[in-house]
Symmetry: D2
């Protein structure tokens, strides 16, 4: 049975290489998580176990895919940032998106019982969709991260107020929604404080800021150097020696991957962690 | 914190709608399965448990995604065929690929312990990549399926002979490879028979033919009608009434999804199951 | 001066092969032709010289690019149809679009003085933009052609009535527009007849039907055969022998390219000219 | 005749917006110019009339399309650079490519008789194909320009030597080719000097450097400022006031478009003309 007469079907595959010298963000989103929340009784407005599971899966993705420099998660979504010099899978979009989504989904199911020991998974299982977006400059990529974190803040303030009105204020959803229509941030802060003696600022950072995941090296004093500008100057994939590339890979593998709840909008986060933009591993901090 | 100043980053997303009126095949492939086979001691040349797990995950994908009309699996790959009238996710490529890959990966991990009860999974977990390809005509789509099944046959005959030389013939891999270099199908058949008294035709169908998964309705006498031509004549997504579409969906949900090891290259398979090309649910067979 | 250090910039080119086995339509549109009409005093609602120039340029494009099987023009737009088996420039979208647009523009300028001998061109020159669209089935492609011709009819009936109200009815544009708002085809026909004793059916075919350009072979009695279905059955580029391909090319080169004003919506046009769908040159008609 | 039943064909058009915040280079190439050169007797290795015509057409393109900041031409090719903030036609690839190609082709034919008064054009007419490439950083875009200019130098030195061997050395093409095989630049320089008393450095700049076309403002002292870095910092299309945008447009329209033969590889060219990277019109120089 010669296969040659059917092989022409390979010509229908379309190449999908992403533009070189751009930051690639793969964002994944939970599919039908409203139903999932109800099915497994996730707490409202935030479920710490569910966020813990998302973060653990994201850490596992970054452990398996060392080309990801930083990721950011909120609610049932996670964004993974590949450095603009990344050449993994020749930057083929389908490969990058499907590998991230597959790895994340696998760990989400695998780690489920750690975070929900009393609630076994049952079909239909949780799943995620994903897409890739290219950002040409450091500023574009940082603005993407800022967009997600600003969104996290806006949604969380809304959800916190909404669910407080329901859970403590004994409103139904329709009344709560009506109460919040047209309100500004300061109105919601004021409402929480005056009616429920609740200071939004004291809410857990993981709810207010979301989660940022990265390899942990020694922090750098800011102001010494402008990494962003140098990064944009890089025109082409740096031709590292093989030895250098392998050394970098080893140092990355040794670095601890941490989950923090920091402000990624301000410069400080990026200035103190120049390895995020430069893709050069920093110094492994001494364990204490 | 107004979000508007960052929202411009959404403009960097590229639309990726697949061409209407084409068959969409999403193929997924195991990543690094050579290592995985070694790690969990998969049997050579075929491991029935591993194939059973692949098939179970594919069945689950087709249960969750009712727009898939047929799928075909061999080794660590699976191809899922969406009907050319499918409008799921507005035919966005990233959505279709990532959802299939995510759902498959989730079930693969979830069902692992059923097929490998004595071998718990440990990181790094199995994962899959995927891509979508559009085929304009029924013939193109069928040729794609034929291509995969012809490939299955060629590889399985090679692998069966190769591993028989090693396992029963006590050759090492280099010698076995050398023995097979340049041989034709009939030479391998002859070798198996003369040296090992083994008739390749008696090998299990799942190894020789791979697995085809579809909804099971009452078979139709072939020859009565040419569905393929009518299908190619369809120019645009059929505007079904909502009631009709819902009825179809219910009948699909009721249909049993079966895993068979049939020849999909010959016309017979398609002629007797006109619902695969027409996307009209057939008659639910009476249970016996 | 070694060039190698700059050559990496070639990697930024994106491949843009159009899906095989689909009909490729390249449509071009005049840029800013409202201004152009005013500048050179085109007659309203239709200028026979301008249409003649468009048709002459389209004929020249089809003479230079023998892969185009049929084209259709109306007003300042022209659609060129490449057969679904076409492999010109490996079906690269940019190449196909830019070559058609360039060739058309060159002839439009070159032939201008033939059609407007008393009105020399002056910068800014007329120019055209273009795009390619793929259609998977014969029915899709024919529906595209029907769409353009139905559009021609609707626009021409409107414009004819609108300009008659202005030119003969002495209305201004605002009043003419108001008179036509919400009218149906039969209302406009009636208005032309009752107020201006004008029978729209007697208008020139080139205005009512637009122009269709194709190679002229002997007509075939319709009903004998269904070419469209056979065409959709073709799964892959036909592997003609080189001799056969060259013979076909020669016969195409010998065929007269004609401009007609026929109905391309009904089957008759396609049934009597099977070479349009089959891409097999027909019989050269005897000159009389 | 309702058009609605055919309008679904519009859904087959694919969006093709180019990635924002990237430099767009549209390069056009003459089609079959080897034949054209022979047909009209272009001089070898360079024909000043033909280059003059290319440059005149490029100037006309830049006059009509004010979004182009700089262009570079050599032989039968021309590259047009759109600023990374350009939003012309919503950055649709087909529109940008086809408009450039169409406008260039129209002027090439229109201006032909000015440069070749004694040689009237005859079909098949000269035509050009084109494609667009996106470059994320200033350095990428400058490297693209450097690549073309380095290529110009390499080809021109080769062609000059090759044709001197033929025209003055009375070699045939095969011998000339053989003589040059494996030679370095200095070998060719040496060959020209020792055998033909010809100093390559004294060749016309237009042959050695190609042609660069841009709007002419007052030159700026270099070193004062790093425009390139600031340009890469720009993250999004600058939201100019409408008045500002119109002022800029007027100043651009007033600026003289010049054709020069300068080194675009070194920094000096870009440093002294900051408006090329900033897209802010400079000062119109006083006429003398």
């Amino acid at each position: 049975m010669a296969n040659s007469k059917f092989e022409y079907v390979k010509d229908f595959e379309r190449p999908d290489y992403l533009l070189p010298n751009t930051w690639v963000v793969v964002r994944i989103d939970g599919k039908g998580f409203t139903k999932l929340c109800a099915k497994y009784g996730f707490e409202k407005p935030n479920d710490k176990r569910a966020l813990g599971l998302m973060n653990a899966a994201a850490k596992a993705v970054m452990t398996d895919l060392t080309d990801i420099v930083v990721s950011y998660g909120v609610s049932d979504e996670y964004s993974f940032v590949f450095h603009k010099t990344c050449t993994l899978y020749d930057r083929r979009e389908s490969k990058l998106v499907s590998t991230v989504v597959s790895t994340f989904s696998a760990y989400y199911v695998y780690l489920w019982s750690t975070y929900f020991p009393d609630m076994p998974l049952a079909p239909p299982l949780p799943s995620f969709d994903g897409r890739a977006v290219c950002y040409p400059s450091v500023q574009n990529m940082r603005d993407y991260m800022s967009w997600r974190q600003a969104d996290c803040h806006i949604n969380n303030l809304y959800n916190t107020t909404f669910w407080t009105l329901i859970q403590q204020g004994k409103m139904d959803a329709t009344d709560a929604e009506r109460s919040l229509k047209g309100t500004l941030s300061k109105d919601k802060n004021e409402l929480l404080y005056s009616q429920f003696h609740m200071n939004y600022n004291n809410e857990p950072e993981i709810f207010k800021k979301g989660s940022v995941v990265f390899r942990d090296y020694e922090l750098v004093e800011p102001g010494s150097d402008n990494v962003a500008e140098k990064i944009d100057d890089l025109a082409e994939p740096v031709n590292q020696s093989k030895t250098q590339a392998e050394n970098d890979k080893k140092r990355r593998a040794k670095a601890r991957i941490v989950v923090e709840h920091l402000d990624v909008i301000k410069d400080d986060f990026w200035d103190r962690r120049p390895w995020l933009l430069s893709n050069k591993p920093g110094k492994i901090p001494k364990q204490t």
